[in-house]
């Protein structure tokens, strides 16, 4: 019926495009002006549209930066009894930067990175102690984490603002494109960091603490010793296997130094298997708190700990098995969700199963609970 109404053989092209002599000049302008406008000013228009969105994000980042700074200063003043007003010193700490070693010659780069990062951590720790000499180790780890969060948020704000202002100053739209593309990911990280502050202030376990939570429970009623900096070792037996349980020293906010601890254990004992339990970032579409098993060292961070663990395992020919609890960036650094906490017992049973499946009686296993142990003692 409709086909009868449309006559495809009778188009008047002159009328359609209005290019004949009697066409309306105003209509011509309506056609041509936007084309000229978009050809010459298209990028600039896009820049204005995009910059509106980026400006909103920068405003949000600025508020995160300000809030995290205020929270840090407020926490230090209320909880650590500083000798003098800590504001000036803390502001100085927030601006500290780390220059990573030159990687043109990558030989020995891991040792250099480890040295730089540890030097920064040691420096920060000692300077927080100078603010308040009576501060307990537990409070010190919390202040150190809050300082890291505030410092990271400050750095994110500065970088995003710099990229935006440079693009705007140069009227350079292509320069703003990478920022526009990466901004949602940056905002996700920044929002997660901002929401992590209350959990660290209150000493509550975070999603990343699932590994220490599982190993911490396995350590209960065992004799414990400090094996490396902020890292605890407990020895126990399970079905005729010797277990070396490792986790960061809780309930402070620290990840410890599991690689140093593993190096010491393997130097003094014959180890047959390493099992690592950690939180892992879930992919989009994956269920939060789902548990997965695999091979290789499950440990995040800058990569130096993983490198050291892999080096020890390779030298001594020890297989590494991993169990991970999947979660989002936000879940990993904010207060542990019920779903993740509920998976602790199930994952612990999987660890015991893994020990039985992969080792024989009389063998030794190192079990490492990887992650931030805030709110999780042993």
């Amino acid at each position: 019926m409709i086909l009868f109404l449309l006559d495809f053989s009778n188009f008047d092209f002159d009328q359609l495009f209005a290019m004949n002599d009697d066409s309306n000049p105003i209509m011509m302008l309506v056609w041509i002006l936007p084309i000229i406008l978009f050809v010459f000013y298209g990028q600039r228009i896009q820049l204005y549209v995009t910059s509106g969105e980026i400006k909103k994000a920068i405003k949000k980042l600025d508020s995160f930066r300000e809030e995290s700074r205020d929270e840090l200063i407020d926490y230090v003043k209320k909880n650590t009894i500083p000798e003098n007003d800590p504001t000036v010193k803390l502001d100085r700490f927030l601006d500290y930067f780390t220059i990573m070693p030159v990687d043109m010659d990558p030989n020995g780069i891991v040792d250099k990175v480890r040295h730089t990062v540890r030097a920064r951590e040691d420096y920060t720790r000692e300077h927080i102690r100078t603010l308040s000499p009576q501060i307990s180790d537990f409070e010190l780890t919390k202040v150190q984490t809050l300082l890291e969060i505030a410092s990271s948020l400050q750095m994110i704000f500065k970088i995003v603002n710099h990229m935006f202002l440079t693009a705007k100053k140069q009227n350079n739209y292509p320069l703003i494109l990478p920022l526009q593309m990466i901004l949602p990911f940056i905002m996700e990280q920044a929002e997660a960091m901002n929401e992590a502050i209350p959990a660290f202030k209150s000493g509550q376990p975070v999603g990343d603490g699932i590994g220490p939570m599982i190993v911490g429970k396995m350590m209960l009623n065992c004799e414990k010793e400090t094996i490396s900096f902020q890292t605890i070792l407990a020895k126990t037996d399970f079905e005729d296997r010797h277990l070396f349980l490792l986790k960061a020293e809780g309930p402070g906010s620290t990840v410890g130094r599991p690689a140093d601890a593993l190096e010491k254990i393997t130097a003094e004992n014959s180890i047959d298997t390493i099992i690592m339990i950690d939180a892992a970032l879930k992919m989009e579409g994956e269920d939060s708190a789902s548990v997965a098993q695999g091979f290789g060292a499950a440990i995040g961070g800058i990569g130096t700990e993983r490198f050291q663990i892999e080096a020890v395992a390779t030298t001594k020919n020890i297989p590494i098995f991993s169990i991970v609890v999947k979660q989002s960036v936000k879940e990993a650094i904010t207060l542990m969700t019920k779903d993740i906490a509920d998976k602790a017992d199930e994952t612990r049973l999987q660890v015991y199963e893994m020990i039985k499946d992969n080792t024989k009686q009389g063998q030794s296993v190192v079990i490492i609970g990887v992650g931030n142990t805030v709110g999780v003692p042993q």
Binding site: S202, G203, L335, A341, G375, V376
Partner: protein, 64 residues
């Protein structure tokens, strides 16, 4: 964007502590209080004379 801001509900997270009696295994969920850490002794069990130990600490998010 405007509508999403108007209609989006504010989310609040409340921290809870789950304590388990080491004698009768009775579980009790209460609001988190500062000083709560996992595996520490929390209080006397309300149903027997056992000691309750903190088993879990987690957050639950609600929309306002």
């Amino acid at each position: 964007m405007i509508f999403s801001n108007i209609f989006s509900k504010k989310k609040i997270t409340i921290a809870y502590t789950v304590v388990v009696c080491s004698k009768c295994n009775m579980q009790r969920k209460r609001k988190f209080t500062i000083g709560d850490v996992l595996f520490s002794e929390s209080s006397k069990c309300s149903s027997c004379d056992g000691i309750s130990v903190i088993e879990k600490i987690f957050g639950e998010t609600f929309e306002q």
